[in-house]
Amino acid sequence: MRTEHALLERRLPRLFAVLLLALLALTAWQWRNGPPVAASMLALLPSGAGDARLQQAEARMQEPIQRDVLVLVGHPQRERAVALAASFGQQWRDSGDFEQVRWQLDSDLDALRQHLRDSRLNMLPAADRQLLIEQPDAFIEQRAAGLFEPFASFSLLPPEQDWFGLGARAQQALNFGGRVQPDLASGTLLVNEPGMTWAVLHLRSRGDAFDMQAPLAIAQRIEAARSASEAAGGQLLATGGALYAAAGQNKAMSEMTLIGGAASLGTLLLLLIGFRRPRVLLSLLPIGVALVAGCAACVLIFGQINALTLVLGASLIGVAADYPLHYLSKSWGHAEWRSWSALRSTLPGLTLSLGTNLMGYLALAFTPFPALTQIAAFSAAGLIGAYLCSVCLLPAWLNGMQLRPAPRLLAVATRAMSWHGRLRQGHGTYWLLALFLAFCAAGIGQLHSQNDLRQWLGKDPALFAQSQRIVELTGQQPTSQFFLVRAADQAQLLQRQQALGTRLDALVKTAQLRSYLSLNQLATPAADLQALRSALADLPGHWQALLDLGIPAQALQAELQQLLEQPQPDLEQALASPLAEPWRALWLGRDDNGVAAVVSLQGQTDSSVLQGAAEGLEGVQLVDRLGELNRLFAATQISAAELKLISCLAIVLLLCIPFGIGGALRVVCLPLLAALAALACLGWLGQPLTLFSLFGLLLITAIGVDYAILMRENIGGPAVSLLGTLLSAISSWLSFGLLLLSQTPAIANFGLAISLGLMFCFLLSPWAGTQQHEVKG
């Protein structure tokens, strides 16, 4: 027996060293091209439910959000703004960081003229078409007046090519850019406001904005430009997915350093104060192993690790430090503490802890949220790593160490347990339970649930202010809401979009919607084109006003003839025209089920209003990703809770083996009660229940089972066990609780729930023990 132990004690550390080396090699290989860390919180969101078309449309609409950066360079002097924009634009274009950098309207006017002339019937706005059909006299009179109007907008088509003004009206409709106008001299895109001229630059980054290095490079370029503009007496505003990603990345990194650093430092102090031996700091090793193993597992499974996982994962430090505490804390009980024998006596409890923790975490892996799946994978791998390290390697390194833990701590714990013992005699427990349940019920009654995507993002306030300002200046406010229109063929598609467009026009008129882009603005449905042509054919009866100006009838006749005979380009031809650039991304093409296109919207609009606009229109679907995600958050809360209950059942079954059914139930019920109390506290504190606080509470049940097991196993006596539990709880709190400091609401909410839960877990843990305080081990 003794030789067997000795053999094992020699072999285990070696075996683990080999594993550890393999793990480090794997990690080194994974990090060969820089850190495989993704910064996008959005990447952790579940992809929308729905068919391939919907996913295609969502991806298409996501692309500009992720890749486009909009920059406004302002200066009180117009020409300085133009010059600044040109210098930044050229610089960025030369940098190679961007696929496209645009700040000038450098269109070939002749080509634009040609396209406008060829497709003016197609592009005539619906309201103008209606005027021509219903009131041809008014239409002609407006045109006659327009020929003399001094400030009519600059017309691409000269009057003799556009006697009826169809081209001028179509051109007006193209001017959807809101307040952004080209500077006639330089072509620079400008927005004017009193005392300030802003030049607008559109940047499109290469590839995905959420690849790790690009956002930082882009953010640096923008910051450099900001300093340069401020030095020149100007200002710079910028917005775009890449900038948010860069800010998120920086924040995640600094928070991880802060929280991870504080947690490590705290744990270190805890160990030193508790055990008074520097060598005991070796027991921090499982933390490092846990982080490396968690990272490696995530990269292995998901290809990369998200910054959010890393931040939450850093909190794993506390749990990982628990394992060595299991046997280190036994030094209070034994006169002479030996690492291997202490491990042997606590190994069953340690293994049970690992099993229950794994069950708790893995339950989360089955929620439809990639975020939770990733965190679960990270944690599970990390815990296994920490367990193996604590069991295989650490005892060898701690071998021969004489532990002289602080005796005063044990005295405090002994006194606490004797109070508890007195409380448990008689009916104290039942009174307490009744009081406790009343507290919980009242608290939970005040709880409100909140699920909003905005909690995830924890928007950088400076960036958000700039985005708001840009919306105000440019009038462009892209939203995540859009319509997906499907049809059997192009003709039907345009017809359906036309029907939707009529309703949207009404919303624009009542200012419920800022504007929208739809393919039927580019190509008129065939039936409407037919109606337009027949109205045109009747025009000679109404064009006296133009004849009065001295325009020869032959000239009008010739243009009319041309308009009537001119074939209008079909949708795909129209999309190829240089005028069609803003619409091009809307067309989703043809597949086996027909054709589809997106109708994109500008301005925040109430989802129910938009739902109303789509109502009753066949093939039209409102896609509201934000709303959908918020609903999904709520649904996930429920499914996560269900999964948790299932995992609790599994834990009960597992614990039945050592403790029997009664003991197992007791051990599982205590953390559940603690979670309930934490939930009630959230209610009392007026804090919302979010997916994240729920996730925290689920975690609490896993960790709490740990403490209950420690107390139940009762190795070294109840006071020693209580002390071990206290050390564990403090080290857990040091890592999880510190998440309270995070600026991301989701993470801070998580930290709060965990902190509360840990406190109750510790307070309730003495009840896990059996009534007779017999000393084992």
């Binding site: 020409e79 002749d110 003399f148 000269p158 006639l184 330089s186 001295g550 020869p552 000239a555």
Partner: protein, 202 residues
């Protein structure tokens, strides 16, 4: 683009050009000569010579240019319509009073620019035209040839001529049409009439 918008633009360009340092002496003199009057009034005749028409499209009316307020443009034939440009943008007179036109047009940009120039807020457009001044103070001609890519696609050449005041502006469009704006009987004044003042005020 319409003639008046061009006219205002050109006056602006002219003043910018004149006050620039390119040809100091003569341009400076002309600038001073044109900008010394607080108010200029007179009739205008605009002829649009379109290639497709045997006769030009003619219109006429009167204008009031006030250095510190803006421009009133009163079209009388073939239809009556008053326009106004000032620092706020472009307005059209309707039965309900002045109605601001949407400020997003390129023409609005030009007219704003023009007013900026009047206030001495030069916008440096001179660098987008090549300027050639000939003649003397009694009879001068200033030829502008656009150098900016965008303007080149709109105008091929612009000629402004006059004596004491601007009398004639001719715009040659790249596409072959030509607009002639004549102000044959402009008179300089010292102040706006009450009616004009109220037109600018409301």
């Amino acid at each position: 683009m319409n003639a008046l918008a061009r006219f205002t633009l050109l006056i602006g360009l002219l003043l910018t050009a004149l006050s620039s340092q390119a040809e100091p002496l003569s341009l400076d003199q002309l600038s001073q000569q044109l900008s010394q009057h607080p108010v200029v009034r007179g009739p205008f005749i605009q002829e649009k010579h379109l290639r497709a028409l045997p006769k030009p499209l003619a219109s006429s009316g009167t204008f009031v240019l006030a250095a510190d307020a803006g421009l009133l443009w009163k079209l009388e034939k073939p239809l009556k319509q008053d326009y106004r440009i000032d620092a706020n943008g472009i307005a059209k007179r309707t039965a309900a009073g002045w109605q601001m036109q949407p400020g997003r047009d390129v023409a609005a940009q030009q007219s704003k620019l023009f007013l900026d120039v009047l206030k001495g807020n030069h916008s440096g457009l001179a660098r987008d035209f090549e300027l050639q001044l000939s003649g003397d103070a009694k009879a001068w001609t200033l030829a502008l040839t656009p150098t900016s890519l965008l303007l080149k696609q709109v105008f091929s050449r612009i000629e402004i001529s006059g004596g004491e005041l601007v009398e004639r502006i001719e715009l040659h469009e790249t596409q072959g049409d030509r607009t002639l704006l004549r102000m044959p009987a402009s008179r300089a004044g010292d102040a706006l009439s009450d009616e004009e003042r109220s037109d600018f005020a409301h």
